[in-house]
Symmetry: C2
Subunit: 220 residues, 2 copies
């Protein structure tokens, strides 16, 4: 079983400091929500983001969306060999059941995540998605991987196929991929850093490389 953790994802509700910003107020109003109920989105809140710490990287739910869309529709997941977790900036963790069908439409995905942040588990009975307060370190303990890899530009250089081969040497490896557009992890991390390419890659490109190259050894 491969444990995929999208870590330090830039997925959060609009932070208190900017709930009064006119762009945020207008956006929430158009969506018939209160400002504190909406997910921060750099596309629409970029002016407000200039006023807060790390504003140049925050508000990227699209990265989480692409990673989930790739991971959950992968052959590895269909074969029951994948678990996916989304860890976010404010130390929340989203647990996602493998059978979850994430909305393909982005605006519906945002609505779903807003619903999750309010209700902590959706849908009520099935609880396909659950949100818990948890730092990355505690999630990692809980996952109990026999080896943890961190996808990182400064890591040991391995080609993606070679990394797939290395991963498959473990029973329950965990792979951490940063869910942010640039910069470094905010959480302190323990694990082996791996770089699969000499230039930066998007989070979802890394997810596809890791899953598909692992499948080769784990499934076929």
């Amino acid at each position: 079983m491969l444990h995929l953790i999208i870590a330090d994802s830039e997925l959060e509700l609009v932070p208190k400091e900017i709930t009064n910003h006119p762009d945020v107020v207008g956006y929430a109003k158009r969506r018939k929500k209160r400002p504190e109920q909406v997910i921060l989105d750099a596309t629409y809140h970029y002016r407000a983001l200039r006023r807060i710490e790390d504003g140049e990287r925050r508000g990227r739910p699209d990265i989480v969306h692409f990673c989930l869309i790739n991971a959950l529709e992968s052959i590895l997941n269909k074969e029951g060999k994948l678990r996916v977790y989304v860890h976010t900036r404010n130390n929340k963790v989203i647990y996602i059941k493998p059978e979850t069908r994430i909305p393909k439409n982005y605006n519906r995905f945002i609505g779903l995540i807003e619903d999750l942040f309010e209700k902590k588990a959706i849908p009520k009975g099935l609880k396909l998605l659950q949100l818990k307060e948890k730092p990355l370190s505690v999630l990692l303990e809980e996952v109990g991987a026999d080896k943890t890899f961190i996808m990182h530009e400064d890591g040991m250089q391995l080609t993606p196929p070679k990394f797939g081969e290395v991963l498959a040497q473990y029973e329950n490896p965990a792979v951490i991929v940063g869910g942010f557009p640039h910069g470094d992890f905010k959480s302190s991390l323990k694990g082996e850093k791996i770089s699969i390419y000499r230039a930066s890659l998007t989070a979802w490109a890394v997810v596809s490389e890791v899953l598909v190259n692992y499948e080769r050894f784990a499934l076929f």
Copy 2:
């Protein structure tokens, strides 16, 4: 060079038959466009879609978005070994230069495509995206692949790694992936049908499997 063709994509402007439908009129008005200027989107136009042929599969620009996001951010594309084409329902073909940065935000992507359908080439000078009237058969002639594969559930069964190996035996292979949610290709196609999994996969999952498994032989 691998030529990836997303074919019979369900990407089109709202068809004439339903430009008067109240859902379409309201949607266009909210977006400050005329109904005939907006891209058909099943999420918002599902009631109108019930009235037209193939309504249960049309209006899926999200599929094209995910395929492009995966293909253009792939290592294969960064290494200059990939060309991507989007062929659509009404025999239009979108040519995409490899250096194109597709908007990650879905709503911006839709705006971009609407702009492309109007102007036929964007941006004006660079022409990163170009839209031409062209059936799939003519595109295939133009691509001039030494072998054409069609990803199809009824095709010859090969594991994804094995298919990567087969692909790499050709100098300029073309791979056709259906850009629709279910059903079969509408265009008549010539090529070898390949199935990489015993169950159906989304178009973007197939794109990732094909590109990553080809990379292994073409790059590393």
